[in-house]
Subunit: 225 residues, 2 copies
DNA sequence: GCTTGTGAAACCGTTCACAGCG
DNA sequence: CGCTGTGAACGGTTTCACAAGC
């Protein structure tokens, strides 16, 4: 057997995937603290606000560097800066949204994006009846305008809010235009080239997971009672 | 605080958390296969449809029992049945939705729930202007009707689609009414008793995770080119 | 032959516990 | 003294590889 030693180019910039997801949550909590006028937090306090334990929080933050003060805690503003930089949020990112139906409509109007580093700059839909409409100050384009519009506005993330049947086709088009990050709300697994990142949100899956635990709780009670 | 040390009752019915999440995805893929008229799938095929590798899929299914046929594969209908049972989806579960703003509106109209084991049976909002309105055949109730309505309809899951500021209060009210499973769309960490399960969906967090990878890709290119 | 089901190994993430430092 | 930062231990998850069985 050939001893395949991993190249192990472990430059200090390696942040575990699980940590990345939590950094976003810490950022949210820190922003809230900042707005409340708090200047300093201990790992214990911030961990509570983020719903994790303090050891995990400290380890997560340690991947960014040593930005705390022993015996004191972390400066809120400093952490906000470092986490923002780590997540690539130093400048706003432009988002294109495809599918302006039920859910897409709601996403287009969601104010939370703007305050957290993102701006929806373009809307698309396949339905001729919707093309040309204006939603929250943006015109709905047809899919054939995808390339043109995405290059004019510098779009870095695509959001798919179409029915399942259209999603893979839309995805292929987004990839063809050069988009390499996709957030998918359609209940289907997308196939993409290796350089493209996809994250998915499936509401029914979330409910089904809750259903599983609900059932287990019911079974447990039955046994006891 | 309430340090609940689990007694570690490892009865054979223990399905790992990571597996539960994927079972829901398998179910989605199987339903699609079923509708397409497929009767039998191999682990390889189903794994591809679910976006995982086949070894993982087989191990996941093995927690439910041995329902495949060696040399052949799995019968679609059989698997659908077993996964549905495992997830507690043999009967429809009733869902209460709190917050009928932008997002809540979209969720109330999302047809995908009905076909996948759930039914939204009650809508609530704190805004007097919205109370009494009808949405997709359901009346919007005020928060003071929560107890009454949730007990009349047997609600097993609560969905919070309110602004962040209202979410913890709404959550407390749901818990008080006896709801032990909550899906939270508000960008805040909810505090709940130990017997209550919370799952959260934060759209901005998802985008920030994509942003991280997008940045890393950009950094990588810079280095090469 | 082919594909499932599964121990064992490798991997990753979390928790512990304490050294290090302000 | 208090809190951060971190090696080491632990537990859960994924992958490997092959025996079992149609």
């Amino acid at each position: 057997m050939t001893e395949q030693r991993e190249p192990k180019v472990d430059r200090c910039r390696t942040i575990p995937e699980a940590t990345v997801a939590r950094l976003a949550v810490y950022l949210r909590a820190l922003t809230a603290l900042d707005e409340a006028g708090t200047h300093t937090v201990s790992s214990e306090e911030l961990a509570a606000a983020a719903g994790v334990n303090s050891a995990k929080l400290r380890k997560d933050l340690s991947y960014l560097g040593s930005y705390g003060t022993r015996g004191v805690g972390y400066e809120v503003a400093t952490l906000v800066g470092h986490i923002s930089r780590a997540l690539g949020l130093t400048h706003h990112r432009n988002v294109a949204l495809v599918g302006v139906g039920n859910l897409g409509h709601a996403l287009a109007g969601y104010a939370g994006f703007g305050t957290r580093g993102f701006r929806i700059v373009a809307l698309f839909d396949a339905d001729p009846a919707r093309i040309g409409q204006r939603l929250h100050g943006l015109e709905v384009h047809g899919m054939n305008a995808l390339a043109e519009v995405c290059q004019a506005e510098v779009v870095s993330i695509g959001v798919i809010a179409t029915p399942a049947g259209a999603a893979q086709d839309v995805c292929d088009k987004l990839v063809a235009v050069g988009i390499t990050s996709i957030l998918n709300f359609a209940p289907i697994v997308l196939t993409v080239p290796g350089n493209v990142d996809v994250r998915k949100v499936d509401l029914a899956v979330e409910l089904q997971i809750l259903s599983f635990h609900e059932q287990r709780k019911a079974a447990g009670l039955e046994e006891v009672g």
